[in-house]
């Protein structure tokens, strides 16, 4: 698909997003959509690392760093929320930079392990150290405000998170189309080939993970002011796994659309199936196993797998097969 064909489609989607709160008029569904947006941003960060063949298991940890940075700055000092929004992204990116600059020297397997270990340790520290509020968490976090207008209801927060999401998509899209993105694609298809082309694999991978964690931190700040409370347990390893699962379900070779579609399905599906909370991880896990075995390319790969649909999207097939494995 050429870029020109996308513009009308994008405009329609944008107008639809703008009007959505007036069409739906249900606070609960808006709440779920806000969650879809949060998870999509985390999932796109995961996809950015996956483009470099890095598997991150720690998105939840860097999300937490952002959320806590913003909250502590807002409650302990008199800094405005709008200053803490970029600052929490920077804090998260800085933390990621320190950890991954060491981990990436040893290759992707250690990156995978260290992302999990660091996110677990972040959660433990947030829970056990008094300064961060302990396992009971921090209550009564003030909502963001412009003048006397507070981002308190669902609709204002909906627009807020959509701006973040669109900003995220635009930045990621621009990066993927730029020189850096092409280098990432090269690393993704073959590391040794990329090295032979003079690409510094270590630096490009470090850049990808730092950028991804920056956005995780920013959306963490949004999450804190939206929820008005933070509990360390909500940033557990389970969240990182869910983020991976959204990306997988949507399609690992679709770096922007995949996480959004995956998150959309996985947030809404359990709500309508009304699964008991205790059994939910079990059903999710069985679903993961089934997807991994029977549909490794995700939902967006279905058009290529069904013969009569493949003709319509024939052009795309070649490209994504190349990226896929």
């Amino acid at each position: 698909m050429k870029a020109g064909n996308k513009i009308p489609f994008m405009t329609i989607a944008l107008i639809l997003l703008l009007l959505l709160p007036f069409i739906i008029r249900s606070n609960y569904i808006l709440h779920l959509i806000i969650y879809v947006a949060i998870y999509s941003i985390l999932g796109m960060g995961f996809s950015m690392m996956w483009k470099n063949r890095l598997i991150s298991c720690g998105q939840a940890g860097f999300f937490a760093v952002g959320a806590y940075t913003s909250t502590l700055l807002v409650t302990r000092t008199d800094l405005s929320f709008w200053w803490t929004l970029p600052l929490s992204g920077i804090a998260s990116a800085f933390f990621a930079f320190i950890i991954f600059s060491a981990a990436l020297r040893a290759g992707p397997l250690v990156f995978f392990g260290m992302s999990l270990v660091s996110s677990f340790i972040i959660m433990e520290v947030l829970g056990t150290v008094e300064f961060f509020g302990g396992w009971e968490g921090i209550l009564d976090i003030p909502s963001a405000s412009i003048g006397s207008f507070f981002f308190y209801g669902k609709i204002s927060n909906y627009y807020f998170v959509m701006i973040l999401l669109i900003l995220n998509i635009v930045v990621f899209y621009a990066l993927y189309k730029s020189r850096i993105g092409r280098a990432w694609t090269a690393i993704g298809s073959s590391v040794s080939l990329a090295e032979a082309q003079g690409i510094n694999v270590y630096r490009y991978r470090l850049a990808a993970s730092t950028i991804a964690c920056f956005f995780a931190g920013v959306v963490g700040a949004f999450y804190a002011q939206y929820q008005n409370l933070l509990v360390p347990n909500s940033f557990s390893f389970q969240l990182s796994i869910y983020v991976q699962m959204y990306a997988l379900l949507g399609g690992l070779s679709h770096f922007i659309a995949g996480p959004i579609i995956g998150a959309g399905i996985m947030v809404f599906l359990p709500e309508y199936l009304r699964v008991a909370n205790e059994y939910q991880p079990i059903y999710f896990s069985i679903l993961i196993i089934l997807i991994v075995i029977f549909l490794p390319g995700g939902i967006l790969s279905i058009p290529q797998r069904v013969p009569w649909l493949a003709g319509k999207f024939g052009k795309k097939k070649e490209e994504s097969v190349m990226v896929n494995e």
């Binding site: 600059s101 040893a106 250690v110």
Partner: protein, 289 residues
């Protein structure tokens, strides 16, 4: 810190380190031979503890039977994981990882639903303590250290046998190993059984000392990840060394700086990783592409 406390911390650290070493060596065996990142290792450890608890407390059998039951049950479960799920996901490393994560989640959640979140304590197998002047050493923790070291040494010599050689041959090149008459399918099953069985034994060893909880699998999994990262992937002596180092850092750190000890652990490990990317005694292991 006086002498008695120092030795107390030392013993605690070494006991925990011994357990880490056993679980981590099982993990690194599977990772090295089959290139499978077995997320369920921690849950196997947890289930091993519960199997022993069930055999000894409910069936009132001797402790040795509990250990054997844990070993066999976890080996069987590991083989089931390999034959039923992992076998079909050889398409990509990430897909295998996700499948084992999902399997681990199923095990943990089932355990949480069945056993609840409370601790299950067993009667102590070894009682009494060793008193050397001011220094007091608990016998059960000494036994834990002893068993950890014995198991690692046994494993080390076991891998020098013919089976161990076959395992290394399959690691190097599956096809050529096949030409030498090595049945790689059988080797894979055996490796998986051994690796998961070791986690089961570790769980069986820990249950009389620290008890069993349904969510203890995750905590230890993170620690053994750190152990194999620091020790060097696929390196058995490295895993042993790193396990004891991490056990000691944890035990002394908790005594000295309290709740910051996990953070201290992370920042102790980063310089090691930065200057020795392959771990203390290993070389970087690549993900198969």
């Amino acid at each position: 810190m006086d002498v008695a406390l120092f030795f107390q911390c030392m013993i605690n650290g070494l006991a925990i380190g011994g357990i880490y070493a056993v679980v981590a060596s099982g993990f690194t065996l599977v990772l090295g031979t089959m290139k499978i990142f077995n997320f369920a290792q921690g849950e196997f450890y947890m289930l091993g503890a519960f199997v022993t608890f069930g055999v000894c407390e409910t069936l009132h059998l001797p402790y040795v039977f509990g250990i054997i039951a844990a070993l066999l049950a976890m080996a069987l479960l590991g083989v089931i994981l390999q034959r039923v799920i992992i076998r079909y996901t050889y398409g990509g490393f990430f897909h295998t990882v996700l499948a084992t994560i999902a399997f681990a989640t199923i095990l943990r959640q089932t355990a949480v639903i069945t056993f609840g979140k409370t601790d299950s304590f067993m009667y102590p197998v070894v009682k009494g303590r060793l008193e050397l002047g001011e220094i007091i050493l608990n016998n059960d923790k000494l036994l834990l250290i002893f068993m950890g070291i014995v198991l690692i040494i046994l494993l080390h010599y076991f891998l020098k046998l013919k089976v161990g050689k076959a395992m290394r041959a399959v690691t190097e090149d599956q096809e050529v190993a096949g030409l030498q008459g090595i049945n790689s399918r059988r080797i894979f099953i055996f490796t998986m059984a051994l690796g998961c069985g070791l986690a089961g034994i570790a769980g069986a060893l820990i249950v009389p000392v620290f008890g069993a909880t349904a969510d203890m699998g995750h905590g230890i999994f993170v620690k053994i990840l750190l152990v194999i990262i620091i020790g060097g992937m696929g390196s058995m002596p490295g895993a042993l060394l790193a396990a004891f180092i991490i056990g000691l850092i944890e035990s002394f750190g908790y005594q000295l700086i309290g709740s910051y000890n996990e953070l201290a652990l992370l920042f102790c490990m980063l310089p090691i990783l930065f200057f020795r990317p392959g771990g203390l005694l290993g070389r970087p292991l690549a993900i198969p592409e």
